[in-house]
Symmetry: C2
Subunit: 249 residues, 2 copies
DNA sequence: CAGACTTTTCGATGGAACATCGAAACAGGC
DNA sequence: GCCTGTTTCGATGTTCCATCGAAAAGTCTG
């Protein structure tokens, strides 16, 4: 029977290999692997799935999704083109796996900041500053991935769920800030959307070549966003100092 | 001699037909056109270049650049696939022509606002509000086009020049606002970049389906941006009223 | 330790899309 | 009528995504 028939729903979500072994992947010095040997004789370093994702990530950052051929990814991962389809059914699944990784960082960040508590303005400041830096550090442009995810809501369902969660956390900060009078009376939904858009948009232009350091860009954007939200501008300095105390010590 | 050999540098920049006739295109009731007739018998309505761009714009908005096949554009414009290449050498040239059109609106807007003069905060407020609306009204996602333009700086040289001009105009507003004390002491370059990123990022999320009206989104973003820039937050109300007086009367 | 089964890889192939080439089909001027 | 220039087409080449069946290894069972 052909291996494709063994695919279950779960692997689609995980974006990984068809039948992922429960045992850890080959890591020893002489990783005896089953299956037909590769035509090239290069030593096999780790989990092929990870190697594929690493190659894809690098290439997509360089050439974009459309400009990155499956054959190129395969060759950089030490495989032939058709062998890729053993690990990922379609090109989009590779993209989905990459976006799933990228999504973890901002979401973890937001959760940690929510757990830390503190004034809403400080929370938002901390988030924006770190989010911009994190997005700038990604090897590829998150906006391009967004666009692909938007055209295939079913295939990227997990992504959109996480995205909604993230937006919800930010909304909650904004709501708290408004109710305790520290923030202006803005639309929380629109504001959360704008904050995320802003981070991603800036990341885009940073990628296109700005001399600024990501840290500086992040701080500037955080200044602008929080400055636009706080009820009294004199608070901005205190907010910045509070954020620095938490994150830079 | 093949028609390709007749291409000059100019047509590349204009993104149009190989040898654009100086005479106006057929507009009469019975526009007798020279050249081989089309295989379909549909009546020919206007300039084929415009029809191609209209079809491409619609399809790209629907399916994205990668998802829009040249054969599809051709068929919607009443042509066979290979006939497109008489008007545009490559798919990217169609994209370049579209982006050239899209770029006109924000640049004109910024120039008019500069000519109008007035306080920097009002200028920025007016720009952001109108820019967001204009970007939301585009049939396609400007961010996708940006990315393609970024990967081919030579082919989109005109676009990048105009972009730099736009950024320069905004920078000048910010500089003026700082020097006369109405705006906080921010980095003008970074701020101009952030403002444009913000507009484009919000446009992106609006396109993905928000219940808000573009007008409302634009006003909210303008509030946030200008609120983050003005030295005294009490000024925000006055700025908004001043902008309303100019644009909504 | 032979043979069945599983895992991983490959080569061949089909189909879709971009792009090029040469020629066909018209109009207008000589 | 014939030549020239304009616009369109069909055929073709190449590249890329994706599928299929089989090959080449290891592992398990009797």
């Amino acid at each position: 029977m052909h291996v494709h028939a063994q695919v279950t729903g779960d692997e689609r979500a995980s974006g990984g290999r068809y039948d992922r072994p429960v045992t850890s992947p080959a890591t020893g010095p002489n990783p005896r692997r089953i299956g037909r040997p590769r035509s090239n004789s290069r030593p096999l370093v780790g989990d092929p799935t990870d190697e594929i994702l690493a190659a894809a990530s690098r290439l997509i950052g360089l050439l974009g999704v459309g400009g990155t051929a499956m054959s190129r990814i395969a060759s950089e991962a030490g495989l032939k083109q058709s062998s890729l389809y053993y690990y990922f059914h379609r090109k989009e699944e590779i993209v989905a796996a990459l976006v799933a990784r990228a999504n973890v960082v901002p979401l973890e960040l937001a959760r940690r900041i929510t757990d830390d508590g503190g004034p809403a303005a400080v929370q938002i400041y901390r988030f924006v500053r770190a989010d911009v830096v994190a997005l700038c550090a990604l090897p590829f442009d998150i906006n391009e991935i967004h666009r692909i995810a938007a055209r295939d809501p079913a295939g990227f369902a997990e992504y959109w769920t996480e995205r909604a969660t993230l937006e919800g956390l930010i909304e909650a900060w904004v709501r708290h800030g408004i109710s305790d009078g520290h923030l202006r009376d803005v639309d929380p939904v629109l504001t959360a959307m704008t904050i995320l858009s802003n981070d991603e948009g800036v990341q885009n232009w940073f990628r296109l070549g700005t001399a600024r350091e990501p840290q500086a860009v992040g701080a500037a954007v955080a200044d602008l966003v929080v400055g636009g939200l706080v009820a009294a501008p004199s608070r901005l300095d205190r907010v910045r100092r509070a954020a620095d105390r938490i994150d830079f010590q």
